[in-house]
Amino acid sequence: MITKPVILAAENPLSHVVQHPLFTIHVGSLELVFSNHMLMALIAGVLMMLIFPLLVRQRTIVPRGARNLVEALCEFLRDKVIRPQLGENTDRFVKYLWTIFFFILFCNLLGMIPLAGILYFLTGNSHLGGTATCNIYITGALAVTAFIMIHLSGIRQQGLWNYIKNFTPPAPWPLVPILFVLELIGAFVKPFALAIRLFANMLAGHTVLGALIGLALVPRSYAIAGVTVMGAAALSMLELFVAFLQAYIFTFLTTLFLAAAVHPEH
């Protein structure tokens, strides 16, 4: 007989991927709601600000341990992903691209830790965890920064008039207005697709995981529940892979768009 609210499989599978308000700040007539996704994004940022300076401070040439992992990731990104696209502009953008890669990675991985379930036993609040990138506004904010970075860098590199001329591909002159409008729409759709891709991948993963664990409760049998939990563990492995992959894809596509904006090849 289940009397306590079920933690990992709540009322419906979507209830632990949506935002839950933690507390509300009243500023005049505004009500600012602080939700658990904002808390997880804050924790990801604070973790990044704590971990990376500590790792950089090691004075040995040969990296060991956690610094080795971070350096391997950074070097892979810089030499295999960013430098082939950006060439001599690599050093301008590599810090921004490393930051969004690690922010998305930290947010995704923090979502895989069942903080909400663990902290439920300490506090009564069963929503103190979650995946920050399960929130369209947080991924949308990342896409907005990518949009600003791409177009501002393109304008600074080539000048405003040259940059707008990039949107007109070489084509017979009657087609040029249509193609210009299409390229303009594309400039907005591409960051939007970045946001949606990251958001939907994380949302789908956690929803399926929630639905699968919820399936463990329907038959009142420990054997089926055990099999379901093993299936959920296997799915969590896939989720870990997707966490890394989506961070990589976001960074790689932002690099591609930056390269197209900063030195277009036609």
Partner: protein, 90 residues
């Protein structure tokens, strides 16, 4: 005549809500068909080219992963539309 009566009767029984749920569910299934076909095609070609030239395996595998993630991008976009349609109930 018999068929359009069936639809009218169905509308009376299920109502608008049931039709929207049906539409969302069928839509999700169609999305999966398209995405699985696309990604399966990519995976098949990748396996074939790696079998043809195993030394290029790393680069071919990375291209496959990137293409699969791009296709999944707009697949999930369509799935979000289905979820939004489901959420409009009641």
């Amino acid at each position: 005549m018999f068929e359009c009566n069936l639809l009218a009767e169905g509308l009376q029984v299920f109502g608008d809500v049931g039709l929207s749920v049906l539409g969302a569910a069928i839509g999700a299934g169609l999305v999966v068909i398209g995405a699985a076909r696309g990604i399966g095609h990519i995976a098949g070609n990748t396996v074939e080219s790696i079998a043809r030239q195993p030394e290029a395996g790393g680069r071919i595998f990375s291209s496959m992963i990137i293409s699969a993630a791009l296709i999944e991008g707009f697949t999930f976009f369509a799935l979000i539309v289905c979820i939004l349609a489901l959420n409009k109930i009641g």
